[in-house]
């Protein structure tokens, strides 16, 4: 897995690049709709699938009575099927009319998370992208498992610049008297 900062930056860049322009807002920090949900979705596979497993693994060294299966129980949060189910589940916490959109944003973020993770290489094992239907594992192996540490110093300023540039563009379009397109 890459770190949460890398995943969050990639999710923000994805949103900035993929969301079409919207009418400028009175709120200068206004960002494309669903950004927070998308970023949350990109972080959940690690927050739910890795953090508890890592904590339990370390805890078991001191408390061996903790059953081993408790470590593995969280892993489905880090496979595509689990991410889709988790997204539908989490979306139930949102208003009825927003659930479908929220589930899509969460799932999109989660799948983007996996797309970043499969770039890495690990010794002998990849990601179980087809679990539970197949134990086929896959990773592209283009970067080392710690390569993101060297990427973050560049990725973080780039993300901040991209968000700032978007805000600036929208501000300029607002100053020029932006008019929303007529409704069809």
């Amino acid at each position: 897995m890459a770190d949460l900062i890398t995943h969050s930056c990639v999710a923000l860049l994805w949103k900035v690049a993929s969301t079409p322009g919207r009418p400028p807002s009175a709120n200068r920090w206004r960002l494309p709709n669903g950004v927070a949900t998308f970023v949350l979705g990109t972080c959940l596979p690690d927050l739910l699938g890795r953090v508890p497993a890592m904590a339990l693994t370390t805890l078991r060294w001191q408390v061996p009575a903790i059953p081993e299966w408790t470590v593995y129980l969280w892993s489905p949060f880090h496979v595509p099927v689990g991410i889709l189910v988790m997204s539908v589940l989490a979306a139930q916490a949102f208003p009825t009319r927003e659930r479908r959109r929220t589930a899509i944003q969460l799932a999109g973020g989660g799948l983007l998370h996996l797309a970043v993770d499969v770039l890495q290489t690990h010794l002998g094992i990849g990601y179980l992208l087809l679990f539970p239907f197949s134990m086929w594992d896959f990773e592209l192996g283009w970067i080392g498992s710690e390569a993101t540490v060297l990427v973050v110093p560049f990725l973080l300023p780039l993300t901040m610049f991209a968000c700032w540039a978007r805000w600036w563009r929208r501000r300029l379009s607002g100053a020029a008297g932006y008019q929303a397109p007529p409704a069809k």
Binding site: I5, P32, V39, L40, W61, G82
Partner: protein
């Protein structure tokens, strides 16, 4: 189906996936545990320890690594490893007359791992501070639901 029905169904599916994953992981026909089940037959089998932690250095040629299984004895040069290091080891299983040991074929050190973990912790703290601000609760149908904050969406 109601909101609670969908939630219960999704929860049950996730629990089932977790149980299936645990079963598969604990019965896999590879790894240290599998070798110990029939050590004589599996003498010389390849075992992989990707991203395991060095938890003890015994002497100049022996140390222990831990992850889900703790205290796996490893035979290999200790000059480059220290307690707390993260390593990836390719080894051969050696029953060693009742004292099983993983004999190192290749060793990969991960010196940037602590930095990566630090980035993970920083990211966790930043998200914990920022994301709750991005959502609000509101009333719907006699209950409370989450909504992305209007100032963030648009």
């Amino acid at each position: 189906m109601t909101r609670w029905g969908i939630s219960a169904l999704c929860g049950a599916v996730l629990l089932g996936l977790g149980i299936d994953y645990a079963h598969v992981a604990m019965t896999a026909e590879q790894g240290w545990r599998w070798c110990l089940e029939a050590p004589a037959e599996r003498q010389g089998a390849h075992v992989l320890f990707p991203l395991w932690t060095v938890t003890r250095v015994v002497d100049a040629d022996h140390y222990e690594v831990s992850k889900v299984i703790s205290g796996v004895p490893v035979a290999g040069d200790c000059s480059r490893v220290h307690v707390g290091d993260t390593v990836s080891v390719v080894a051969l299983f050696d029953w060693n007359d009742g004292q099983p040991v993983a004999r190192v074929v290749s060793l990969q050190l991960h010196p940037l791992r602590p930095w990566k973990e630090a980035l993970g912790v920083i990211g966790f703290i930043v998200l914990g501070a920022v994301l709750p601000w991005c959502f609000v609760t509101r009333s719907e149908g006699g209950g409370r639901v989450l909504a992305e904050r209007e100032t963030w969406g648009g």
